[in-house]
Symmetry: C2
Subunit: 221 residues, 2 copies
DNA sequence: ACCTGAACACCGTTCAAGT
DNA sequence: ACCTGAACACCGTTCAAGT
């Protein structure tokens, strides 16, 4: 036994492992998005031959799948805040949005790979609890939970798309010039500005929860 | 002048034009999505050399852009139905959803290319009208319009993603087994079933509009 | 058990050359 | 004005061969 660990081509590099590959891949995705993760760039990053990666992770698709699975597991629990069910549901929605936005590239990847339900399990259970507290039961409760869930995912997807394509042509300013809504200049001004996604989200969720649970100052039906 | 139109390599094929290229590209996208539109497949479809396409449309990206622009122009006007502003806003939202779903591959493409505002102009003006009729003005009216707009786009995006990845793992049935919510078996049953997107959409939009305009049977604030 | 290079079948795009 | 093939720089993946 001349050497316990026969040195590979580049002796300084530590042995390749599934973990190393996943870590490097995660860093590439985090920095430049999934489309920037090519097997060849990844190999270059790791200082190995492209084909070595295949030994450890199978192929590109299962590499991405493993990445997604890992991120979903890392997603934190949701802690509702507030006194009324209304306030607590809104707080869950906001927390959900924050978590999703913290992993911008991964939302779409999770969705495409069918892991959305697992990703939302913790939030879903929290929502069930609050919706119950608000007096909803059975199918109606389920509908309320799913309405909130869909809305949050939808908003985050819209926001992501907007961020990727910030330049809007023709552009709302031109569409909502002073003559367009002369009877309500305040509205025209508001629509001419770029929307504040945070604000749109909050307004929407509040209104949605109002509609689902009954208005905050009115008793549940 | 031996021949008024010197025949190309394949004499049966009519002369290539920007229109022909766009039509063939549109058909490819409609059938198999944007990722199936490769310049080489398109050339094969048209019976030309790949490079001929570049002469007519520049490159792949501007080809897709032209496609999107054309679809946006084709999008029909929205005709609100119903007696109350509430009903009419809901009808606009449903019409919007139907139009978007009629061009499944193009929603994302429109969004990525920043044409969403133009695409929504007609609907936005209809929404402004209804929201005015409901008594909202200025910034509040603008918020309501945008809340509806974001929600519809969001829902359609979520639905599209779900359709592309119909298999959910672990799967809600396993997550919502009988013991999970024993105190409300109706809820557990409802959540164990796959959601009906149409139903979730309707419930969400109704609740959202309730919250934005005031409940349908209560006066506007 | 792990790593390698060569090879295959794909991409989008450029360019000089044809008519 | 329009069309062409050759060439370039990229992909993901397979495979036989090395240690």
């Amino acid at each position: 036994m001349p050497s316990p660990q026969p040195s590979p081509a580049s002796p300084s590099r530590p042995r390749l492992s599934r973990e190393t590959v996943l870590a490097a891949a995660a860093s590439l995705v985090k920095q430049h998005g999934p489309q920037a993760l090519t097997m060849r760039k990844l190999a270059a990053e790791l200082g190995t031959a492209v084909t070595s990666i295949y030994w450890h992770v199978g192929n590109r698709e299962s590499l991405l799948e493993a990445l997604v699975e890992r991120t979903v597991r890392e997603l934190g629990d949701i802690r509702p805040r507030g006194r009324t069910p209304h306030a607590r549901v809104v707080s869950i929605a906001r927390a959900l949005r924050r978590e999703l936005r913290a992993h911008p590239h991964l939302i779409a990847m999770v969705h495409e790979r069918g892991l959305t339900e697992r990703m939302f399990l913790s939030a879903q259970q929290a929502l069930v609890h609050e919706v119950h507290a608000a007096g909803l039961r059975g199918a109606r409760a389920a509908e309320a939970v799913r309405a909130v869930q869909f809305s949050v995912i939808g908003h985050v997807l819209v926001e992501r798309n907007r961020e990727r394509a910030p330049v809007q042509r023709p552009g709302e300013p031109e569409l909502w010039g002073p003559e367009a809504a002369e009877e309500d200049p305040g509205l025209a001004r508001a629509l001419a500005r770029a929307p504040d996604p945070e604000r749109v989200f909050t307004v929407s969720v509040r209104a949605l929860v109002d509609g689902l649970l009954g208005l905050p100052d009115s008793p549940a039906p």
